[in-house]
Symmetry: C2
Subunit: 213 residues, 2 copies
């Protein structure tokens, strides 16, 4: 792979740097002034390039936003994985709920772009992020504490946390409203079983919780 190191030449490196500059400018404008204020012309001014450069590297405005959203998903995933989960997988899911909301409130414009646009096919970054949630749910199933099939539980949990996040972002109530805790604990309670008595040595019950696909 690294046979011809010089093949990553000056021009290619400069191209990559230009792409990064454009992406950074786009992300900054989105975070500061929202999606509606984002114009290619302003990205040009902030990044110090002209329009054809952007169109050469990204195709069109929607594709440029898609690349920003990809980066958001990566960052989102990283945020959710940060602070390794507590030992109890149910508690890990519960704290994931809170961190999910925190991310949405910290990056409302990005969150809306990530989840409110209809897309024909989810991007790989979005799938990876969804897979992170599914793994948390699967960890609960692995110790025999999931009441419903993994896929259904994952989707249901995601619905709940997305509902709280997007309505809070839309400004219908203040962050930290009691409804958030209510929804979180309702889903946890309904989707999972309490931990078995500690005198049982094997944490996983012999009857698994995964349904037949």
């Amino acid at each position: 792979m690294a046979v011809r190191q010089s093949s990553v030449g000056l021009r290619e490196r400069e191209s990559e740097s230009t792409r990064r500059t454009i992406l950074d400018a786009t992300e900054a404008i989105l975070a500061a002034r929202g999606e509606e204020a984002l114009s290619i012309r302003e990205v040009c001014a902030r990044a110090g390039v002209t329009a054809p450069t952007i169109y050469h590297h990204f195709g069109d405005k929607a594709a440029l936003i898609d690349r920003v959203v990809d980066a958001c998903f990566v960052e989102f995933d990283r945020t959710l994985r940060a602070r390794p989960a507590p030992g109890d997988p149910v508690e890990a899911l519960r704290s994931g709920f809170d961190r999910y909301i925190d991310y949405g409130l910290a990056h409302p414009t990005h969150y809306r772009l990530m989840f409110s646009r209809r897309r024909a096919h989810p991007t790989p970054a979005a799938l990876a992020s969804y897979d992170g949630l599914r793994r948390r749910v699967a960890a609960i199933g692995a110790v025999g504490r999931l009441r419903v099939p993994i896929e259904e539980a994952t989707a249901a949990f995601w619905c709940a946390v997305h509902g709280v996040t997007s309505l809070t972002i839309a400004g219908f109530w203040q962050p930290g409203a009691p409804a958030a805790r209510l929804v979180r604990d309702a889903m946890i309670t309904q989707l999972t079983r309490p931990a078995p008595f500690p005198r049982r040595s094997r944490p996983a019950s012999p009857r698994g919780s995964e349904g037949s696909a």
Copy 2:
């Protein structure tokens, strides 16, 4: 009030008709081609008026959309009230959940406009619609079957149904996915109590469920 009937003259009636024509054209374009395809020029063409007419009557494009959204909330509210609820208030809430999703899937563009835009103050139409949901929840509290304060239960239930609706609209899974039923029943189970045994004559328990404010 109707002292001077002639004060509603020809001009006023024509103005009202013009407003209706413009609103209908806007709604039709939104439903058919989505928010991004909505342009004032196309509304003009479809409604048979010119731009200054629209700006005279509505102010700007955002205000025009606001008026359409107001009408959507009225229609939304009417849809949820249709088919009078079953006797059991818990079952009424459950069927309200399904009808809410049905409306969102039938009018995805309108639904997004109603609930995904950040607004400083909710419109009266939106408040009236929210109040309809709160009354359904309050009816459960009135028979002593609500586990949490009315306001919190209303907000939590709304979060849940909005989460299911908006993610389904965004295309993350098919309508009717099992997650919807799961979320619905989880919220119902956690927010409400089962009906008391029928041999007790008084349906409402003496200890009310409403919290303090």
